[in-house]
């Protein structure tokens, strides 16, 4: 097992897992999100080849309703 930080929370996952598999396990549709790994954007076309490593910091985001205000 390895330990990651996903959206600020620690998560333990199996070793040798690709980003595609990680998203699938989390039931997140890759088409609707964008992923930042250790502050670098991960192009969607490379999700299959990106292997998750111990200590990775991931941000997984999507679009929500938002206008001119601060929404927290």
């Amino acid at each position: 097992m390895i330990t990651l930080t996903i959206n600020g929370d620690e998560k333990r996952v199996q070793t040798n897992i690709s980003l595609t598999e990680l998203l699938e396990n989390m039931q997140i549709s890759p088409q609707k999100v964008a992923v930042e790994r250790n502050r670098e954007i991960v192009p969607r076309s490379t999700y299959n080849n990106v292997m998750i490593e111990d200590g990775d910091q991931l941000e997984i985001v999507h679009f929500i309703g938002g206008g001119l205000h601060v929404c927290l």
């Binding site: 039931q27 679009f63 938002g66 001119l68």
Partner: protein, 256 residues
């Protein structure tokens, strides 16, 4: 007669851009967008709720193939956060047109202009087409245009205040200097405010709270659509001069 306008090579008919925040639910958001006639909506980028990834998403209600999503950095207080957010937005959506907003004060939500310049420069260098939220300073606005921003968006009053256009002189000065579209971004409270902005010669108006916080958001969305069209038409028609004294509309000759 068609009266379209352009941002960075994209042509639009509607001069109203609406935000998609603060609504009761996505169904109401979609209905308000439809009633407003807007062709561009602003959206925010936020972390996916990892514990419930299947909760409804905006894209299921407002189709990004029909309506242009304009990712914005609402809520960002540093240039670095704004740039990271828009890089993610570009990857999520696949488009370069973005709205940059770097805030400097929690209470007023006034833009932090030095941070805005810094972020705009970084984003333009990376190929983004930046529509930028700015203070109403004509010098700052011109500098943003010179840097390569594709639209200048001064506030008419603080974000979410609904105070109406408090600075018609500054807005007009910015318009007169600008060679890219100028949109009032923030401050509109009701339909007449939107008309005032358009009568000043703005290319468009961006709003969220005025529609979302109306008692009937769908009706207000329609009112805003009409106000923007009406203000635009009045600007093009050219208003009469103001006079201090009366000037009778009926001829005085032939009075008994």
């Amino acid at each position: 007669m068609s009266d379209t306008w352009n941002i960075a090579g994209n042509e639009f008919s509607s001069r109203l851009i609406v935000g998609t925040g603060k609504y009761k639910d996505f169904k109401q958001t979609a209905a308000a967008v439809e009633a407003s006639g807007a062709e561009i909506v602003t959206v925010a980028v936020r972390r996916v709720n990892v514990s419930n990834p299947n909760e409804p998403m905006l894209v299921d209600y407002v189709d990004p193939k029909k309506i242009t999503y304009l990712p914005n950095t609402a809520g960002c207080f540093t240039a670095d956060d704004a740039v990271r957010t828009l890089r993610l937005a570009r990857e999520a959506g696949g488009w370069d047109l973005v709205k940059l907003e770097v805030l400097g004060n929690q209470k007023t939500l006034y833009p932090d202009m030095p941070a805005t310049f810094e972020a705009a420069e970084a984003l333009i260098k990376e190929g983004f087409k930046v529509m930028v939220y700015t203070s109403d300073d004509p010098i700052a606005a011109k500098r943003l245009e010179d840097m390569g921003c594709v639209a200048i968006m001064p506030l008419g009053a603080p974000i979410g205040s609904g105070l109406g256009i408090q600075n018609p002189v500054q807005i007009r000065l910015i318009i007169e200097e600008a060679n890219v579209p100028v949109l009032v971004d923030a401050g509109v409270g009701t339909a007449s405010d939107a008309a005032v902005a358009m009568e000043l010669g703005c290319d468009g108006v961006l709003m969220n709270t005025a529609i979302a916080e109306a008692k009937d958001p769908i009706a207000m969305a329609k009112a805003m659509k009409l106000a923007v069209e009406s203000g635009r038409l009045a600007y093009q028609a050219g208003r009469m001069p103001k006079r201090l004294y009366a000037d009778p509309s009926s001829p005085l000759a032939g009075l008994i």
